[in-house]
């Protein structure tokens, strides 16, 4: 899985949404947003809520196109949605009318693989995520954490070059959330799958990231990049180190500056 591929380069991206009426001006969401999300890294994008993080996720996934600017994946322009870039959603997007296994098989089967040939890999992933006994259940019968793991399986079965996670653990309770963070961290450290992880939580960002990209409020751009040099593999105990506290301070300062820039 993704070792050298899955690199995003965005240059001067602009995106605005049309206002409700003809005379309401278009609301700019992204303005001159540039970034370089390296392959094989856990890139975390951080910003306050409503700053256009989801818009960025939709651009990366190819659901929307930027008004201006270029967005490249491994040197090729992003032209639409594709299974090389998989987005894990804020709210669960498992189809409630399919069993967990059917949900995971949807991608391979849609791309022409037979159910039979896709099944071993799907089951191996479900097994790995501790869902082997739940593959015939419907999503609503799973806990929140299980749903997120099922979604990870649903995405990973397609061999994506890069995973885009848009506040994937929002809405989970604190315990489950921490477990899921450790889960994803372990997955990443095992596979080095290129990742863009979008969050509004500083603790989550610092715990997971190789590099944090801090966004300003809308119209947003990346205002600060912080290299998180905490050693890997990470344990939750790393949040108690001195280096963690320094990084936290640096990030907080940048977040507040992002605010003030906007206030001017």
């Amino acid at each position: 899985m993704g070792d050298t591929t899955g690199e995003f380069v965005g240059t001067g991206l602009y995106k605005s949404y049309a206002g409700a009426g003809a005379d309401t001006p278009a609301a700019p969401v992204l303005a001159d947003c540039s970034f370089h999300f390296e392959a094989g890294k856990l890139n975390v994008v951080m910003g306050t809520s409503g700053c256009g993080k989801s818009t960025l996720a939709y651009l990366l996934a190819g659901y929307q196109t930027p008004d201006r600017g270029t967005l490249l994946i491994d040197g090729e322009p992003v032209t639409g949605a594709g299974s090389d870039r998989l987005l894990v959603f804020q709210e669960t997007a498992l189809w409630p009318w399919m069993t967990v296994e059917e949900n995971v098989l949807f991608g391979p089967v849609s791309r022409g693989q037979s159910r039979q040939s896709a099944r071993p890999k799907a089951n191996a992933l479900l097994d790995r995520f501790g869902l082997a006994d739940f593959k015939d259940k419907y999503p609503s019968q799973l806990s929140g954490g299980m749903m997120r793991r099922a979604e990870l399986a649903q995405a990973l079965v397609n061999n994506p070059k890069v995973m885009i996670l848009d506040e994937p653990f929002r809405g989970l309770d604190v315990m489950t959330r921490e477990l899921m963070q450790e889960y994803y961290l372990k997955l990443f450290e095992d596979t080095r799958l290129s990742t863009v992880f979008i969050t509004a939580e500083l603790e989550e960002a610092l715990f997971l990231a190789d590099r944090i990209y801090i966004m300003s409020d809308a119209p947003s751009r990346i205002v600060k990049i912080i290299d998180v040099d905490l050693p890997r593999p990470r344990e939750i105990s790393c949040t108690a180190t001195r280096r963690y506290a320094e990084l936290e301070q640096e990030a907080l300062t940048a977040l507040y500056e992002g605010r003030e820039l906007e206030a001017l």
């Binding site: 639409g80 594709g82 998989l86 009318w97 069993t99 019968q141």
Partner: protein
């Protein structure tokens, strides 16, 4: 499906159910009031009507005074005619309404073509269509079926449309992301996603078919329960009017219950969600 996922439905004795007795009480009070109004009040408008006992006696009589009871062949001919028309209209409503609703909900251009026209035609009541139906169609049957079909069709289309619109955008995005084609989206996302609303539509359409049917039959038919009611009125056979009405109610109720039963069967995933409480 694993056995453990099937919710266990325990069959309870209906007589032990408080709801059952309240329903009986409601029905009983209605019959008593009816009887009292006809027999014991000095109001002439009420006194003209048959009381419930007379109706039941006529309904169950092997030799009915006005020629219609559960022992006469004509009774069943009327029921069969009405059922045939209602089912034909209902089937047509599904065949045309579900695809139209799906495409109106899914494809913006279809929505733009069809929606305003649809919204203008929808409020026109079935009775208002009767003259046009008679002019348009060569015989009685197609005209009655057309009138019966219309409201059912509108209900079917609207419910399917609303069902498709209610599917979360993320389900479409996820599908596009995973490489789903339009066919995959239609069969794996839109149809199952809109299914709960489609089944609500089926139940409404079935009910709508029966009430428009009676209207159509009263004006333009030689058989059927609506015709029976109207004919009995003209011939001053008042108990038969009530027999026709009660039969319409019963057959309509049974067909809606059948639709509901099929719906619940087919939507196992929804049952399971309700069963386990998310």
């Amino acid at each position: 499906m694993a056995d453990a996922t099937t919710p266990t439905i325990t069959r309870r004795n209906p007589f032990a159910n408080e709801g059952f007795w309240l329903a009986m009480l409601g029905l009983g009070s209605f019959l008593l009031l009816w009887y009292a109004a006809v027999k014991w009040t000095p109001i002439q408008a009420f006194n003209r009507l048959p009381d419930p006992l007379t109706v039941v006696r006529e309904w169950l009589s092997p030799t009915p005074s006005y020629g219609i009871s559960i022992f006469t062949a004509d009774y069943y001919v009327h029921i069969l005619y009405s059922t045939y028309r209602a089912l034909a209209a209902f089937t047509l409503a599904i065949l045309l309404g579900v695809p139209l609703g799906i495409f109106m909900g899914w494809k913006r251009s279809v929505h733009q073509y069809a929606y305003s026209l649809f919204s203008l035609l929808r409020p026109v009541p079935p009775l208002a269509w009767v003259p046009i139906a008679i002019l348009l169609f060569p015989g009685v049957e197609p005209a009655v079926i057309f009138v019966t079909f219309l409201v059912a069709f509108f209900a079917m289309t609207m419910n399917t449309y609303v069902g498709v619109k209610a599917i979360p955008e993320d389900y479409f995005r996820a599908s596009a992301c995973l490489g789903g084609t339009n066919t995959d989206i239609l069969w794996d996302v839109i149809i199952p996603g809109a299914m709960p609303s489609i089944f609500t539509g089926l139940q409404i359409a079935m009910g709508a078919a029966w009430f428009s049917l009676a209207a159509g039959e009263m004006i333009a038919a030689q058989y059927g329960l609506g015709f029976l009611i109207w004919e009995s009125y003209n011939l001053i056979q008042y108990p038969t009017i009530i027999i026709g009405m009660a039969t319409l109610g019963l057959v309509g109720y049974l067909s809606s219950a059948a639709v509901r039963m099929v719906g619940n069967r087919l939507m196992a995933w929804r049952e399971q969600r309700l069963g386990t409480g998310g």
